[in-house]
Symmetry: C2
Amino acid sequence: MATGRNHRPATRSRGIPEATVARLPLYLRALTALSERSVPTVSSEELAAAAGVNSAKLRKDFSYLGSYGTRGVGYDVEYLVYQISRELGLTQDWPVVIVGIGNLGAALANYGGFASRGFRVAALIDADPAMAGRPVAGIPVQHTDELERIITDNGVSIGVISTPAGAAQQVCERLIAAGVTSILNFAPTVLNVPDGVDVRKVDLSIELQILAFHEQRKSGEDAEGPARKGPDGDMPAVMPA
Amino acid sequence: MATGRNHRPATRSRGIPEATVARLPLYLRALTALSERSVPTVSSEELAAAAGVNSAKLRKDFSYLGSYGTRGVGYDVEYLVYQISRELGLTQDWPVVIVGIGNLGAALANYGGFASRGFRVAALIDADPAMAGRPVAGIPVQHTDELERIITDNGVSIGVISTPAGAAQQVCERLIAAGVTSILNFAPTVLNVPDGVDVRKVDLSIELQILAFHEQRKSGEDAEGPARKGPDGDMPAVMPA
DNA sequence: CTCTGTGAAACCATTCACAGCG
DNA sequence: CGCTGTGAATGGTTTCACAGAG
């Protein structure tokens, strides 16, 4: 998972389940690919395969949006693309700022997937004065001093944090004070935010650690014996790394 | 979530729930910070706050690992760091290859969080011959032709894919054929893998789309009326973007 | 008397299986 | 007759609340 905190609680009646929301972008991507190949309709089975889920789940997901399919036929690709885009709020333009233009920030600025789907990089912000004015992905980097003005002037409500961990909380607070209410956090820290602000977290090393866990289980299938309680899995005198 | 497919089913008895595994790295990070400040013990309440979860969940999570706490006192920081590290398989060294050294691949190679926790970047691989030999993060980039040899020679079982979407499936297949059994995929595609191979996916644009969904709900709290079925939310003549 | 460890309850998500529409 | 849409069954996760260890 890559989600932070602050997930809309059980409030809101006609709500779409979080798990479903998280899959809509996947369906949208698969549908866009079909649309580009001018495929007119698609069955739940086919679309599910393209999105990497099973068809029952997909149909249940779509049932939360409404009845957009045709029994015996499938779904109209163009129509679904539009309905999902609208549901996700992608029919409007979302200006985004990226704070922290190191290696990762630059990668994000250059990432085509942003611009393609309703997101527009409104500004790049970095604390290093030496970066100021230098263009990254064709956009000039601005100094952190300008942060509040940039947010306000551009009506930015989504911010991306790709600073070092130490700077993240402070940047987060300034973004929120200036009006940002959704944050995508790449810094390896827990961000504390007030109610009403959504945070999603993407953490590279966490993902690797989860893989390592499963990887370990693959090899150690056999002599797995003692692992619980007591001084069997005891600590060595010298700590590893 | 950022997980792909292929999650170990209900097999394996004494298994730790996936949701718990996904949080262990969070606890570990919080504990490491405490350890660096030489804090000897911590209560479930304090540690939970530092990790951004609630304390009941944390205690339940730890209960799957064993009884590592002391009632009335809390947890021994150093001891827990070791136990969680061991459970995650971080007491051993994991050589990793990164395939696709564009902006993102370079960012990953430079990312300190890898090296710090048992992961070692064994090689950087790119399809562009012009990149070959050029050092990134102090490691020379090697050509894709070398992929199989590199995997074998270094005993790599974890691969990171940061290529363009079009190349990802093919790279994935070569990695698997060469012996990789865990993949962290940054390319915006669904990877098809055989059983026994774990895939986790990190998708920047998907995270943003999920934020946009919630963001949209914040403003449109009022005039939300019609959204279901029928030709109310009908498609415009011209498709957006 | 504090704080862990954990059954039991509540909640959410996935899967099954099939009625019924086109 | 094929495929969607959906109740009902199942399985997993979170939260509650408290017994009992230290």
